[in-house]
């Protein structure tokens, strides 16, 4: 299964399990979405549960808030990362705060699926990585799978979770690789990070598409005799602090890798948290390998922008093991 297929399977499973689950978004019906994540679901569940919306991102997220008030479980697809911006007020002033605004009484059991990131040669404003915005704004949970298995188990968790979840889908991984599984994976616990690779010399914390670069970098470093542990965050807010700290306590070195711009990114938070809570374990300066604090470039340059496995390996080599 590709990630597109496993996400589709997760939606299908939850729609069968719970008829309160409805999907809404632009072009998700007849076409199955621009990435085909909702393929065939219109046919299976009808147009009252798979809703092609007018081109109104704010109206769509607002509609989801109202659906939650009525006890439905909306799953919104935003077509591309940067088209979450017109819905920003609904996401952060309403979806994130509505339970709080009702004195804790009404669940915003909603998922906002957000295909994000570069690497697919997409036009301008189709390659942003805005996850940190949602980590910073209180009231949302933010998660990001790095492989088809997790995509399945995490999306099923997100739909069942009583609080609003921003579900970041790394576009670059949609069809990148396949996972074979005979039985579908279990539903995620909703917060735990995964040790994707064990190692002893440094901890690399990453998520989403950057996980693949980080793992490839670990392979490269292994050839130099450097053993790197790679932690896949999965949950970007809240962080699985004990997994991160546990790893740093073993390796004493911390590197974070992501594609989003650096300043006030998820990497900053991971570093700050460790510098507060596991400072004594650190033996050398931490290292962030991230996108630049400049707009995501026109796509001919995207490979230069996105941290590659070679870059990651070379920085780790120079910074920590020279």
């Amino acid at each position: 299964m590709t990630m597109v297929e496993s996400l589709n399977a997760a939606l299908d499973a939850e729609m069968t399990a719970d008829d309160r689950v409805v999907l809404l978004g632009e072009d998700i019906g007849t076409t199955g979405g621009v990435f085909r994540v909702t393929a065939d679901l219109l046919k299976r569940y009808g147009s009252l549960r798979v809703i092609d919306m007018p081109v109104s991102e704010a109206g769509t997220v607002g509609m989801a808030v109202g659906m939650c008030l009525a006890g439905l479980v909306p799953v919104v697809e935003i077509q591309f990362d940067s088209f979450a911006y017109p819905a920003f007020q609904q996401l952060v002033s309403h979806l994130a705060r509505y339970r709080w605004r009702t004195g804790g009484s009404v669940s915003m059991q909603a998922v906002v699926r957000l295909p994000f990131g570069g690497g697919i040669r997409a036009p301008e404003l189709h390659s942003d990585s805005p996850e940190a915005l949602f980590c910073h704004m209180p009231g949302l949970k933010v998660v990001c799978p790095s492989n088809p298995l997790d995509a399945y188990s995490m999306l099923r968790w997100a739909i069942r979770h009583p609080d609003p979840v921003v579900f970041m889908e790394p576009k670059r991984l949609y069809r990148l690789n396949r996972a074979w599984f005979n039985t579908m994976p279990e539903i995620w616990d909703g917060w735990s990070a995964a040790i994707a690779r064990q190692g002893s010399d440094a901890t690399v914390v990453s998520y989403g598409a950057s996980m693949h670069e980080s793992l490839a970098a670990a392979e490269l470093l292994e050839q130099d005799g450097i053993s790197v542990e790679v932690v896949d965050l999965r949950s970007l807010w809240p962080l699985d602090k004990s997994a991160i700290i546990g790893s740093v306590q073993r390796t004493h070195r911390l590197v974070v890798v992501h594609e989003a711009p650096r300043s006030c990114g998820v990497g900053a938070e991971v570093v700050a948290m460790v510098a507060e809570q596991a400072f004594e374990s650190l033996r050398s300066p931490v290292v962030r390998i991230t996108g630049l604090d400049t707009p995501f470039p026109m796509f001919s340059l995207e490979k230069e922008y996105i941290p590659s496995s070679e870059l990651i390996a070379s920085i780790i080599r120079k910074a920590l093991f020279k």
Binding site: G59, G66, Q89, S107, P138
Partner: protein, 335 residues
Amino acid sequence: MNSTEQLLSYPRLDPLDPVSLWRGMVWLRSYDERAVALQRQGRIGTYATFWGEEAVQVGALSAIRHSDWMFPTYRENGIVTLRGLPLERAWSYFRGDPGALFDPREYGCAPQSVPLASHLSHAVGWAWSRMVGGHDDVALAFFGDGATSEGEAHEALNVAGVMKAPVVFLCVNNQWAISTPVSRQTAAKQLVDKAIGYGIPGERVDGFDVIEVAESLGRAVERARNGNGPSFIEAFCYRIGPHATADDPSLYRSSVDEEHWRSMEPIGRMEESLIREGLLSYSQAKAYKEAVRTTMLEAARRLDRLPRPDRSWLGKGTFASEVFIGGLTGEEVLS
């Protein structure tokens, strides 16, 4: 009419009983006056008065039934007391008290919306969900003349039209958005003209006339209930008071104008006509107003006795389970 009975609870509205509508307006006016007094006395903070908009609110509310929901703005902050929210809880919102927040399902009323027009799509989502769930409930969504300029108003109205959501969009055109007159808000001849662009019915009513409001809303609610989709009602009135207690309208509008509109305020006019028609006697009117005033004063005393929230309320209710709240103050990190 028995004044002690009235002391016990809020008036029930019946669109066919004009006296009940008058009672509702008196209730809201008294609530509003008391709130302004509380603000002046420093017992609550900045308060948004709705003097002059009682007819719009009561007329509209009378047109819906209990299973229909309201989606008010800050301006309709008292309307939920006509569905049973204790007065002191409503006022405590303006004391910054988290205890003021309530379960919308209990009163069929969403929390008052502060970001303009952003609650309209919630009404659409709620109403559409009820409809496809096989219910014939209707959403009544309030918004101001200023709010019509927001993109979110547009998206909600347009989506509602497409999805035939049973929503009545009630635009309270009180002619002002803080200091901005409606003539600077849009070049449209009247706000109700916007309905055409959404392919939905529109009506414009005298917002100082509670009967006219109730009738127009009644038609819109019926359309919605019968599966004929949303409507746009423009209730033309005037914001007699300041935008909020912190605002000084003398900076931007003439007192002559204010005087003119104040003379047309809805309650006095209606009271006169009820008395003229023999539906209400002068002494009944006086007694009822006195009774309501007493109710309000008692509630104000209860407000002062409400417990003050402590630190443990911080963030309460943000998440369903509070197990994994990541951000703690340094204090908590260290403890």
